[in-house]
């Protein structure tokens, strides 16, 4: 069990908790919170997929350059930065996902505000117009 699978497991657990909230809660605000928890789980999974055991953040600073040089001396050849850092692409993509998740959460909350204004209720069972 390394950190990558650990992050994956945690993410799956968060998604399950979030879905439980989405499916069983009656309060609209709690449903929005459930959505946020699912969202967070997905982000953790995305970052976890990009993780490689024993590597460091994809920032090419002085410390990383020293490690590259040290690794190069050990191997007796020129080492490559790519063998020391984790995958930067999922980290960049998760940034997009976080922003979109924030946008959706804000929209959901705005709908909740409007609904509450109409019926003075946060209980989802008082909105049955589309139920069949």
């Amino acid at each position: 069990m390394n950190f990558g699978s650990l992050a994956l497991g945690l993410g799956f657990l968060l998604i399950l908790i979030g879905f439980w909230g989405l499916l069983t809660q009656k309060n609209l605000i709690k449903i929005v919170i459930g959505f946020s928890v699912v969202d967070t789980g997905v982000h953790i999974i995305m970052v976890g997929i990009g993780y490689l055991q024993g590597r460091t953040a994809p920032i090419l600073d002085a410390a990383l350059m020293q490690r590259t040089a040290a690794a190069g001396n050990q191997a007796g050849a020129s080492a490559d930065v790519g063998s020391l850092i984790v995958d930067p692409v999922p980290q960049a993509l998760v940034l997009t996902a976080i922003v979109i998740g924030l946008g959706i959460t804000a929209l959901l909350l705005a709908y909740v505000v409007r609904l509450h204004e109409q019926r003075q209720s946060l209980d989802i069972s008082s909105y049955e117009d589309l139920k069949w």
Binding site: T24, D61, V81, G82, T96, Q120, D123
Partner: protein
């Protein structure tokens, strides 16, 4: 009751799928081709020490433009939805505590400073425009918690937002003529690797993104701040103490 059981079964099925995925997941040993390319050529092509920033702003700059557009759309839809049709008179709020007032007076300038630091150094250290913008908006949250009736100048926010968005796209278009393509950061000279003035246009673009995101998030917050719950707003349908 039947609904609860159904939900429970659904969750168990989902958990089973996740378990299979987790058991068959093999951690990769090497970077995949795309990531290896970015690791190898990112430093010389873009010149940003932070590879994630290089990907976000330059390699996937179009995605970032789309992201900023989504935030803008959200802000527009929110202002449409939450527009107050009529003035409902003054809201009365309880005065916030001494602790909160003092803490916000001391902390807010530093929070704004940290936000600006994070997006100015986005190409060198962890962080960037989105993170810095979020930090600035969190400073505004503290201000609004202290004084919920505080008037935030939405015109100033809108001006900063549209100006930074306009300049961002304008600099992106300049990349078509002066460098390799839309949002190419090689319009300016690359500078010394690892210093503040490096990576060409990337820090400027990230500062603009930071300003845009910060003002957009602040705009979202002020929209929610303006929401007024009518008197007796406690929902009568929710019975107190019952876990709904």
């Amino acid at each position: 009751m039947i609904k609860k059981i159904f939900a429970f079964l659904l969750l168990i099925a989902l958990a089973g799928v996740f378990l299979v995925v987790l058991q068959n997941y093999e951690t990769p040993e090497e970077l995949n081709l795309t990531a290896a390319y970015y690791a190898e050529h990112g430093a010389e092509e873009v010149g940003a020490a932070n590879l994630v920033s290089a990907i976000v702003v330059t390699y996937r700059g179009l995605d970032t433009l789309g992201e900023v557009t989504i935030l803008f759309l959200t802000a527009s839809i929110l202002s449409f939805f939450l527009k107050q049709r009529e003035e409902r008179g003054k809201r009365s709020v309880r005065a916030s505590s001494e602790l909160l007032r003092t803490a916000s007076a001391v902390l807010v300038p530093f929070i704004f400073l940290l936000g600006a630091y994070v997006f100015i150094n986005g190409h060198l250290s962890p962080g960037g425009g989105f993170q810095g913008g979020a930090i600035i908006a969190s400073g505004l949250v503290l201000l609004l918690l202290t004084d919920p009736l505080r008037k935030v100048s939405s015109r100033l926010l809108a001006r900063v937002e549209s100006a930074s968005g306009f300049i961002y796209v304008g600099l992106g278009i300049a990349g078509i003529f002066l460098a390799g393509g839309f949002l190419d950061s090689r319009v300016l000279p690359a500078g010394t690797f690892g210093t503040l003035l490096s990576a060409g246009l990337l820090p400027i673009l990230y500062i603009l993104i930071g300003l845009k995101v910060g003002t957009e998030l602040s705009g979202l917050l002020t929209r929610f701040q303006e929401v007024q719950v009518p008197d007796g707003g406690d929902s009568p349908d929710l019975k107190k103490g019952e876990n709904v």
